[in-house]
């Protein structure tokens, strides 16, 4: 099967940095799979996510991004979104005065209110309670993240990039979230690139890539990655803060 996404020799120097944070990274994502891009904070995961999405400040210094066998490295965010790529942010931004239904509707080709309701239900929000609410500071962090998920799910993208979907959520809703990722995949048939530094999140993944200091250190199944992750974390005192899954 041909990969949906190929990252080839990607090097990124994000804004405010003189040296690359992502160094010659290559990996592939297969259709309808959840691919975990794992690694500790600062390893370059989010920079890769932004680069795939096409954010101007994260244009690669070197390398290529191939989507459905087409080089999209020089396309704009909008062009990439129209091809079926979208991103849910780690910390979704708030919008003054924009109702939830309009926010979700913005990404839909067919502006069908039923699709909006369905997406809200999928992320566990009652449509009658949320459709008219504003995407502003009146929403809690958890509500805002769910609405972000609903917005990208409703688009039914070919590639859904989820940047740390569990950050800022209460620990009690983690399991719910991981079940939700499975539900999203089953509902939308999207491929998911899951950016995370939590090994629990990676458990829902079919495959993954481990980043360490901007470089790929392991690829393969989740177990294979976690073995390498623990090995690397064990060598680094600073990484003892990351809960090490000794079961691997």
């Amino acid at each position: 099967m041909k990969p949906l996404l190929e990252i080839v020799d990607l090097t990124i120097v994000p804004p405010g940095n003189s040296q690359p944070i992502v160094k010659s990274v290559s990996f592939q994502l297969q259709p309808r799979k959840i691919h975990a891009l794992m690694g500790p904070n600062g390893s370059g995961k989010s920079s890769i996510a932004y680069s795939i999405m096409g954010l101007s400040q994260y244009r690669p210094k070197r390398g290529r991004i191939i989507f459905q066998q087409e080089d999209i490295t020089h396309l704009t965010i909008t062009e990439r979104a129209k091809k079926g790529i979208t991103l849910a942010w780690q910390e979704p931004v708030r919008f003054e005065g924009i109702p939830v239904k309009d926010y979700i509707k913005a990404g839909l080709k067919m502006k069908n209110e039923e699709d909006i309701k369905k997406a809200l239900q999928l992320v566990g929000l009652a449509p009658e309670e949320y459709l008219e609410r504003k995407v502003d500071n009146s929403l809690s962090g958890g509500e805002r993240k769910r609405i972000e998920l609903a917005a990208v799910v409703a688009m039914r993208p070919k590639l859904l990039i989820l940047d740390e979907p569990d950050s800022g959520l209460d620990i009690v809703v983690y399991n719910e979230l991981y079940e939700l990722l499975d539900a999203i995949r089953n509902e939308t048939h999207s491929s998911i690139l899951l950016i995370t530094h939590r090994e629990e999140a990676g458990e829902v993944a079919d495959e993954g890539t481990l980043l360490w200091e901007g470089k790929v250190k392991a690829k393969g199944t989740f177990k294979e990655i976690m073995k390498k992750y623990c090995e690397l974390a064990g060598r680094k005192i600073k990484c003892q803060r990351i809960p090490c899954p000794t079961k691997y």
Binding site: I77, W89, G97
Partner: protein, 315 residues
């Protein structure tokens, strides 16, 4: 009078800016409609007196709500011109007598304006304990050819509430110059909200809203929201003076600017003439939040569509 005295283009622009056109044109709806400089629709209800006189280049009108009368349904005003060129001058006088209440929805539409001037010189007088809610929405077409000069002088009696909401957020602006002065007496309450979006180099918005809190315990809020993109030019001045004990006021200006040649200026001016009075202000002018833009573009919107959505939300 025909049931629907307004041209199709005027009704469509009313719909575009969010008015309920079907209600607006209903025969029983209280109304005062102009088609250019002709009075084409008047409907009074008990307690509401509407009288107008046509002039060479405009109309004089009296709008009176008699003492103690509470007008239950909104009163619709429509000042429309479908001609491309010309002048429309409106000189209205609003009198809201003691204890009276009314909500007015005003629609000013110049959908084909190429070289069209609209002037309004309004005098508004509220008696004691009256409530006057006034909402005015404009549409100036897409060609930037309107020159619009609304001027209001408002006197708000003891214990009364005056609220004015102005918006011009769809289509082009052309030149818009608003000048409002409100004099607030004892324990009265004032709320002025202006929203405008200049989206091309032809669009210039100048707004001066001044509230003078002259009576004890008078309260005032001036809230200005504007955006300038693709060369638009917006300047908003919110002025509040508090000259009586325990008068309190606030001026809140927020503007965003996007694109080369666009300019936005916010000028809050506050002055206190009594040691027990208090006026505060806040103002911000800045570019469109990049993360908001990126988020909407990642949904497939173009940059300009994303800017418009962010601005419409703010406005």
């Amino acid at each position: 009078m025909s049931k629907n005295p307004l041209p199709y283009e005027i009704l469509e622009s009313a719909r575009l800016v969010g008015f309920d056109v079907e209600t607006m044109i209903k025969e029983e709806t209280p109304k005062f409609f102009l088609n250019y400089n002709r009075i084409v629709g008047v409907k009074e209800v008990e307690g509401l007196i509407l009288a107008g006189r046509e002039l060479e280049n405009g109309v004089m009108a009296d709008f009176i709500v008699t003492s103690g009368k509470k007008i239950k349904t909104p009163v619709h005003l429509c000042f429309g011109v479908v001609e491309e060129e010309g002048t429309q001058e409106i000189v209205p006088r609003f009198i809201i007598d003691d204890g009276a209440q009314v909500l007015v929805l005003a629609h000013c539409s110049f959908p084909k304006a190429r070289n069209l001037t609209h002037r309004m010189q309004a005098e508004i007088i509220l008696g004691k304990n009256a409530i006057f809610l006034y909402e005015e929405r404009h549409y100036h077409g897409e060609m930037g050819g309107a020159k619009v000069f609304p001027k209001f002088r408002v006197d708000v009696g003891d214990g009364s509430f005056f609220q004015s909401i102005f918006s011009l957020t769809k289509g082009s602006v052309g030149l818009l110059s608003i000048d409002v002065e409100v004099y607030a007496h004892t324990a009265s309450r004032i709320e002025i909200v202006n929203k405008a979006y200049g989206r091309s180099s032809q669009d210039k918005v100048q707004i001066r809203d001044a509230v003078f809190l002259e009576g004890e315990n008078a309260r005032g809020l001036v809230k200005l929201r504007a955006a300038a993109s693709q060369g638009g030019d917006v300047i908003m001045m919110g002025i509040t003076e508090a000259n009586a004990p325990y008068a309190t006021g606030h001026v809140d200006c927020k503007e965003i600017v996007k694109g080369e040649g666009s300019t936005a200026r916010a000028i809050p001016i506050v002055r206190v003439g009594d040691e027990n009075a208090r006026v505060t202000h806040e103002a911000s002018v800045g570019k469109v939040n990049q993360k908001q833009l990126d988020t909407l573009m990642a949904r497939g919107l173009t940059e300009q569509e994303a800017v418009d959505m962010i601005v419409q939300g703010m406005l």
